[in-house]
């Protein structure tokens, strides 16, 4: 069973504080993703990675940094958290080798509240 875990599951932060969301996958997938989910927007891609050492900007990267120190781990960093970043954040890993099976496995989500 493919596995993606996230920590913490819930986080309350103060405006201007630094927040790090962590994601770990045991699927040996090259690709990992961070999304946020807000009512009325579905899931929006923040950052993604093709492998260890790589990070790419998604559709809404402003205010976020990402780090992929290893195949298994992908972090999302909010250097200066703002209330507009209050959301549910999902991490995913995926096998996107072209032409073959393409699947994404999602973590359980992290609920972040910035006060």
């Amino acid at each position: 069973e493919a596995a993606v875990t996230q920590s913490p599951r819930n986080k309350v932060a103060v405006t201007g504080g630094k927040v790090t969301l962590s994601c770990n996958q045991t699927n040996n997938h090259n690709n990992m993703y961070w999304y946020r989910q807000d009512t009325g927007h579905g899931l929006r891609l923040i950052h993604y990675s093709y492998g260890a050492g790589s990070t790419e900007k998604g559709d809404i990267p402003d205010g976020y940094k990402a780090s992929r120190p290893s195949q298994e781990n992908f972090s999302l960093i909010l250097e200066l958290a703002t209330p507009s970043q209050t959301s549910v954040y999902f991490c995913a890993s995926g096998d996107l080798t072209g032409g073959r099976s393409y699947e994404q496995y999602f973590g359980p989500g992290t609920r972040l509240t910035v006060l």
Partner: protein
């Protein structure tokens, strides 16, 4: 950017009824997937279906790539089918784009 439109936005059914969910997208080069999000938030992949028809249990997905559309058919719906259904495309850029989802409620 790439657009993914889903309809209807929400749907209420009586248990046993069938459902047809639609997804239209702006790119012809897609790696289309359907996802289900549990009411508690967990997301699971239902289908990878870039073209043609796939079945699993009571679910059928049909994608017509050159018409830029896909559908998800749920037959004999059950209360446990309640949740939100998303389609997502990857237009060969590895940037997966999600639709805004169809919220399904199946009443007993």
């Amino acid at each position: 950017g790439q657009q993914v439109q889903q309809s209807p936005a929400s749907l209420v059914l009586q248990e046993g009824e069938n459902a047809e969910l639609q997804c239209n997208f702006s790119s012809t080069a897609t790696r289309l997937q359907w996802f289900y999000q549990h009411p508690g938030g967990r997301l699971v992949s239902l289908f990878y279906n870039p073209s043609g028809t796939k079945h699993t249990g009571r679910l059928t997905s049909t994608t017509v790539t050159n018409e830029r559309r896909s559908s998800l058919h749920i037959s004999s719906s059950q209360t446990t089918d309640s949740g939100t259904y998303f389609c997502a495309i990857d237009p060969n850029t590895n940037k997966v784009v999600f639709g805004t989802g169809t919220r399904l409620q199946v009443l007993p």
